[in-house]
Every structure is written in structure tokens, then in C-alpha cells.
Symmetry: C4
Subunit: 280 residues, 4 copies
Amino acid sequence: MSSPTPDSPQPAWKQRAYQIIFESDTRAGRNFDIALLVAIVLSVVVVMLESVRSINAQYGSYLRAIEWVFTGMFLLEYLARLLVVRRPLTYAFSLLGIIDFLAIVPTLASLLMVGSRYLLVIRTLRLLRVFRIFKLGQFVGEGEFIVTALKASRFKILVFMSAVLTLVTVIGTLMYVVEGGQNGFSSIPKSIYWAIVTVTTVGYGDISPVTILGQTLASVLMIMGYAIIAVPTGIVSAQMAGAGNAAPPVSPYRQVVCHVCQAPDHKREAEYCWQCGEKL
Amino acid sequence: MSSPTPDSPQPAWKQRAYQIIFESDTRAGRNFDIALLVAIVLSVVVVMLESVRSINAQYGSYLRAIEWVFTGMFLLEYLARLLVVRRPLTYAFSLLGIIDFLAIVPTLASLLMVGSRYLLVIRTLRLLRVFRIFKLGQFVGEGEFIVTALKASRFKILVFMSAVLTLVTVIGTLMYVVEGGQNGFSSIPKSIYWAIVTVTTVGYGDISPVTILGQTLASVLMIMGYAIIAVPTGIVSAQMAGAGNAAPPVSPYRQVVCHVCQAPDHKREAEYCWQCGEKL
Amino acid sequence: MSSPTPDSPQPAWKQRAYQIIFESDTRAGRNFDIALLVAIVLSVVVVMLESVRSINAQYGSYLRAIEWVFTGMFLLEYLARLLVVRRPLTYAFSLLGIIDFLAIVPTLASLLMVGSRYLLVIRTLRLLRVFRIFKLGQFVGEGEFIVTALKASRFKILVFMSAVLTLVTVIGTLMYVVEGGQNGFSSIPKSIYWAIVTVTTVGYGDISPVTILGQTLASVLMIMGYAIIAVPTGIVSAQMAGAGNAAPPVSPYRQVVCHVCQAPDHKREAEYCWQCGEKL
Amino acid sequence: MSSPTPDSPQPAWKQRAYQIIFESDTRAGRNFDIALLVAIVLSVVVVMLESVRSINAQYGSYLRAIEWVFTGMFLLEYLARLLVVRRPLTYAFSLLGIIDFLAIVPTLASLLMVGSRYLLVIRTLRLLRVFRIFKLGQFVGEGEFIVTALKASRFKILVFMSAVLTLVTVIGTLMYVVEGGQNGFSSIPKSIYWAIVTVTTVGYGDISPVTILGQTLASVLMIMGYAIIAVPTGIVSAQMAGAGNAAPPVSPYRQVVCHVCQAPDHKREAEYCWQCGEKL
């Protein structure tokens, strides 16, 4: 693999291929991104259908054939990325590079060992690449708005989560004691699971209190859940409302991520990624 | 069907009928709208009652008779609308026109073919016409406020929805693998259905994790649901708070929708609908 | 019953009794209010305990004795109110007066007819009097803040509710058709009940979709529920945030309700209630 | 135990030990706090694992051994705190001091009496000490922000809670009457429990209405729950948004709590705790 000095000009065909595969400013680049997106979603749908027993029994062989086609396509894409990128190793060991690699492995691995079912999950992780599409047009700012608000709230949310985890641990233990290890509250971890199901208002009902004392305690927890659920919502709302009111500051950074390693926050005047040195 | 030039005066009775049927500025027009509203709600109630087996067994024939009366009334209304409107075809192919037409069909169709039960749904779609009533007085601004806030947030909500869908797909697949295709997690689509039921805090409990690893994963998903549910609420709150704080700008458009094709946003000085040419 | 002219001075003992029973500015008045509050809560607790079979079997006679004591006390209180108030009839036919009266009737009525169980509910309505306590100190402004925000949002919430009701009707009908009247979706009203249970994220699980199409439709409804639940929260948040930012205007009304008929919004300079003529 | 005058200098080793055990400004102090935190979490995990029957059967003796080690460590820590603190009695009777003491007792008590299972809960209360870690760095302000917003909203939330409790009592009684003491609504307290489960949108489904009237009433309660859940969220959001907009006032108090008695809000110039007299 070649490792040119950062400023050496690349051959024209490589620059063109780079534009198509990694960027989405040109028409061809955008079309490539959208085609890739569709391929990813379809390949995940195939994985899903295969898991449905009745469909698998009837169309299993077709689905596996389609899967091989997709795996071939993703393999070609992966090799193309390695070829045209300026620093192949940086790409290969970046988060997206590893996901791209792992997306190909499961199908190949299924030849060698039977029952590598845990690799199924990695295939769906390919869906994370869907977010690349948000580089396109309108969505950059919107996605960034949400992420910024959540980032700015992260310490508040962390403090809040600690309080919730302490609460469910204490109440879960209390319920284990109160219900006496019966009615589904068979251990403290299980009681804590119940407390989480309750305080988040999910309420499966697979475990629910039966004794009067237990139902009273559960009622207190639910009513507390009211005040509790108001907190993260309040944090994010206030953050977003504040961001909306303030005049949007001219950021010293460009709203662009590195096409290779996905590093954000490049200076306006930057020409190369500060993390992997790839041309922006 | 007549097609006069837009400026040719209509006969007086037609103008009067138009005012009553399509507009709601006059006393008669408002009464017509309210009467229509009541008829729509009652006809939907009749459809509902018919679906209850015990009621159907006892009063089925009465209900079907009432339904024929309503169908007749709606047929007359539909014909009247076609007659008095300036451009009948525009109305007939507008969204409301099609709903008005489909609202009559099911009862008629039931004569020809038995078991056209899918047409039932169309009858309830008539309820969408209820929103016409909000043209009246106070409600215009309020409904518009909500719709504007949701519209302004649509890209943010779309980005958010994509993130949620990716999350439930990944977690759903993970749960399918973890619970080993048992305990209700019999396929990936079913596991994703479970993940949606959980992350939205609905929690039916028809499928719920049984293994310790599964319950732990579910707990993580529920706790994440906290931060997740805060996001759309925060988006809409911030949007609405921002809209409320800003001085209400004098809109260059009139808060009125075309009586025929429901096109909104007419210029203040407009006299005819920009979409269908009907007089405003 | 005496009916003095509004300005005629009342005997001193009557004024004193009025201060204690109807007002809460004096120490005695506040103590009376708190004692009454405790009595109301206790009497409701007695009613509750009586409904528990095991407790009723053992302590039923004691509970019924205590109930007679409370009924006696409330009867005395009711008569005292009638005696000291300036316009007894106005009080007797005000909302609180009727509740006070109905609070005594059920126990008396149980002598005459057996199984007047529907009267139980009226007894718990006495709890509404708890809100009188909020006249005390700090709480006036806070309660008013909430009520004002909800009042200001009432049209928006009404529009929103109509949209939700239309949605659950349409989706409920659709589910009835899709699930084919089975799996609990046995009639359209029942399917609408399911849709409400789902869209509000309550999710009992007594009815839940079984077919793949039904589960897909349910997933769409739940995901929509996200955007939907954000709307009322956003409305109230924005309203409250707006109210908090704005400089609190000096209200032309006094933050006081009539002690007799509970009419609010009296002018600052008012000395008599505008509704019942009682001295403020 | 020594009781020096507040100003008498302590021996150097005592000051050093105090810095490490009670403060977290120095490197050693911070490390001690983090080590203690890990020990607390681990000891709670051990208690949890012991409650799982299968794990207890296999590893019970090891777990009990580990517990004795932790108990020994906490005992040493407790004695060290008593030794180095300026006023040992003040610490011993402060909230944290009592929790520290109770954290040691259960294991010791298990020697004397069998089945002191209620003491289990106290052990998990040790988790409350986790919040000491938030004295470190970034978290002080964030935690304070949440607590301040909740404190400022406490009267509003109290009024709101009263309204909710009254509502669930009235609706619960109504449902008991409507469902006729059947279908799980076997007593008024149980019906109120159901109403709380419903209005908080938890929805276990262990009790759910069966009659048509009951399901209608439940639907009303759920729809009302929409407006209801918007209220606390709105309160907290508005409070937080308001706090964020306002310029952060220079507090006359230092953002520090007493290391011994946890009293907050010390004046900027204070050198001793206003509650227990310990040096800040």
C-alpha cells in the first residue's frame, strides 16, 4: 500500500474515485451514498427475513444467495475504499472501517463454523452507516442540533442516571424484602429489574406486586416516576430552548466530518483532517 | 358540468348555496357545518355499534337502516357540493372530495359484494372532515400553532426517528441472539417489535425477557428510553417556546384555507385560490 | 333564616364564627381548616377500609361506628355553615355547598335502602374540599400558576385531543379489520380502547396484536405516539416558560376566592363577592 | 474521644488523615474517595448476588467471606472517621454517620439472630454515599442545577400531586363501583392502585377493566393522563429554561458542603461549618 507525502498529488482517477466513494458533494458521490444506503437496508432486511422460521423454510436458499451477493458488493466496496484512501491503515482501524470489515466477515465465517449466530448482530451494526446520509443537505444542522443539546446535557443526565440507579437499587431491595422472595421477586437483581420496568413506566406486568405493602410501595415509586421523568425532559428542553434563543454563534469550526475517520470539528481554514491527515 | 370563466358572476342562489355549504362565515354556513359534523360523528358511531356482536344481533336491522339514511344524506351533500362549486372536477379530485366520495361507496358496495369489510376503514376516514370545524373562530390559530411547531421540527424529528429505528433494530437483533429464539423472541422482526414496545414505554408484556442477560439488556434499553423520550419533547417544547417568545409576525398570508381544495397560505390580497381558482 | 341587608352589621359571635369556619386568615380559622381536612381524609380512609373484605369482616362494626361519628361531625359543620353565612341559600346551592350536603346523605341513606353503593363515590368527592387548604399561604400562587397555564392552553389541548381521538378511531378500526375480529379485537369500540391504551403508552397487554400486519401497524402507532406525547408537554412547557419569563403583571384582581361560593377574580377594591354578595 | 477547642491546632498526622478521609481536594483524598466508592458498589453487588438462589447455593460461602472483608474495611473506615474528625459525636449522629454505622451492623447482627433480612435494605442505603463523589469537579454545578430546579418547583409539584391523588381516589372508587368488586377491582384501595398504575402510564395489566363502562372510564383516565403528565414536565422545563436564561447570580454562598455533617450553603467567608463547627 502506497503512503505518499500528504501534499503529493494523487492520480486523477484516484481523486475522482475518492470523491465518489468518500464525499457526497458531487452528484456521483451523492448517488453512490444513496445506493450504498439502500444496499445496507436491504441486506439487513434479508438477515431479518432469514430469522423468520416459515420464510426461511420456503425461501431460505434464495435469501442466502442474495446475502452472498450483498457480501460480495460490500467486499468490493471495502477494497475500493482501501485503494483510494490516502492512508489505508488509518481508515482500516477507524470505527467505520472496522464496522465495514466486520460487515463482510459473518457470511464468510459461516462457511467455517456452524452457529456463529452472535455475528448476526454485527451485520445490523452496518445500519450505523445510515447516518452518513445525514451529511447530505438539510440534515447536517438538525442532527448536530440534537447531538449538541444531548452533549451539553451529558453531565446533568449522568448525575440524574446515578440518582435513578441508586433509587431502583434501594427500592428493588426493599420490594425483595417486602414481597419475601415470592410473586416473581425471587432475587434482588430481579427486583431491581422490576423497579426499572416500573420507574420507566414500561410496566410489562411479568412481575407485579401482590401484597398490600408491596402495592403501596409500587404506587409511591410510580408517583415518584412522575417527578423523575420530568427531569431529563426538562434538561433537554431547557438546553434546546436556550440554544434556540441564543444567536447562533459563528462556529470557528466547519460543519464537516473527515470522510475517512469521521473526526469532527475541523478549523475553518483546515485543509487536512487533524486526526488522520486525510484531505478534507 | 358548467365551467364559467373565473370572473363571470354566478346565479344568486348558487352563491347563497355555496356560502352555506362551503363557507362558515354566515350563520347558516356555520349551522350547516355543525349539522354535518354531528351527522359524521353519528354515522361513525353507527358503524362502531354494528361491529359489536351482541348489539348487531339485536338491533342490526335498525342500524343498517340508519346507515342507509346517512349514506343518502351524504350522497345528497356530495351532489350539492359538485353542483354549486365553481370547478367541480377540482373539488372531486381534491383530498376532501375523494374522502367525501369514498364515504358513500362502502354502503353501496355492500349490496354488490359480501364481506367488503376493508371498506369499513374508509367510513371512519370521514372523521377527518371534523377538522373543518376548526375553521370556526378561536381554533384556527391554535391548530395552526401546533401544526407550525410540528412542521418546523420535522427534520429534527426525522433524524431522531432514524436513530430510534436503528437502535431498535440493533437491540432487537441482539435480544433475538441473547434469548436464543425462545420466550417469544422467535424472529428478528418480532424482537424489533418487542424493542419498539419497550423503548416507547408501552410495555404490553406479551413478550418479555426471561434470561438474566436479556433482562439486563432490556434494563439498559429502558434507561436509554429516558434520554430518548426527552428528545422529541424537548424539540417540540423548544420550538413552541421560541414561537411564543417571538413577537407574532404579521403574516403576509391570510389564515384561511380554500373551501374547495383546502389549499392554505393565500396572500392577503388574494381573491381566488392559487391552487384551484375557486373564489375565497 | 335571616336575610339582612348586605351592610347591616352581624352579631359579634356570628362574625367570629364566620371567621373561624369560612376564613383562614386568623389562627383559629386556620386550625379549623386543618382539623376539617384531617377529618375528611380520615373519613375517606374509613370508607376505603370498609371495602376491603377481610378488614370489613373483622372490624366492620367499629368502622361503621366511626363513620357515624364523622357523619355527625360533618352534619354539625354543615348546619353551622348555614347558620353563620350571610346568604344560606346561595351557599346551599353552590358547588361546595352541594358536596357538603351530599357528604352527609350516603350514611343516612344506608339506613333506608340497602346497597346504595353508588353513593360511595360521592363520599370520596368530599376530598375535593382538600383544595380549600390551598388558600393558605404559599400555595395560592402555585396552584393558580398551574391552573392558569392549563387554562391558557385549553384550546390547543382541545384541538390536540380531537386529533388524537380521530387517530385512535381510524387506527382502531384498521386493527379490527386487520386482526379480523380475533385476538381480543372483537369489536371496533374494543379496538379503539386498545388504540388508546397503546397511544398513551399505558400498554396493559390484555389485548395485543398477534398477526404480523397487526404488530407492524401497532409499531407505527407507538412510534407516532412519540411525536404525539411531545405535543401536550410542549404546549404546557412553552406556556409555563412564557409565563415565567414575562414580568408578572400586577393583576387588577385580588388572589382570593369567595369563602362561600368560591367565585374567583374579585376586583382589588371589592368588598363583597360579585357572585353571591357575601363579604370578602 | 478528645474534644479540643475549635481553634486549637490538630496534630499534623490528624490533619493529613482528615484531608484524605473527609476532603477530596488533594490527590490522596480523591483516590480515597474513589476507592471507597468502588468498595461500596462491590459490597452492594455481593449482597445482590447472595440473594440469587443458584449463585448462593454454589458460591455462598465465598460471598459471605467477601462480605466479612468488606464489613471489616467499613468498620476500620468508620473508626478512622471518628478518630480524625474534630467533633466525633456530631459526625456519629449526622445522617451520613448513621448510615456509615448501619452499614456495618447487619453483618454483625447476622451472627446473633437469624433472618434479619430487613437489615439488607440498610446495606444498599450505603449507595447514598455514592453522591459524595459528585463533590469532585464538574458535577457539583450540574447536580446543584437539578436539585435547585426541583426545589424551586416543590410547591407546584406538591399541589399537582394532591390533585393527582384526589383524582385517582375518586376514579378508583368509581371503578370499584362500576366493575362491581370483580375483575381484580376487589376493594377501593386496590382500585386506587389500579388508577395509579394507569394514570402514570405504567400499565402492568395485572388488573384491567373488563366491562364496557369500565373500559370507557379507563380510556377517559388515560386521555386525561396526557394532560396530567405534561404538567410536571412543563413545571421542571420552565424552571430549568428560566434558570438557564437568567444570568447566573454570584451566590453569596460557597458551593461546598461540610465534610462531616453535609450541611450546605456556607458563607463565602466562613471557615467553620455553621451546623457542626467542623473546619471547612
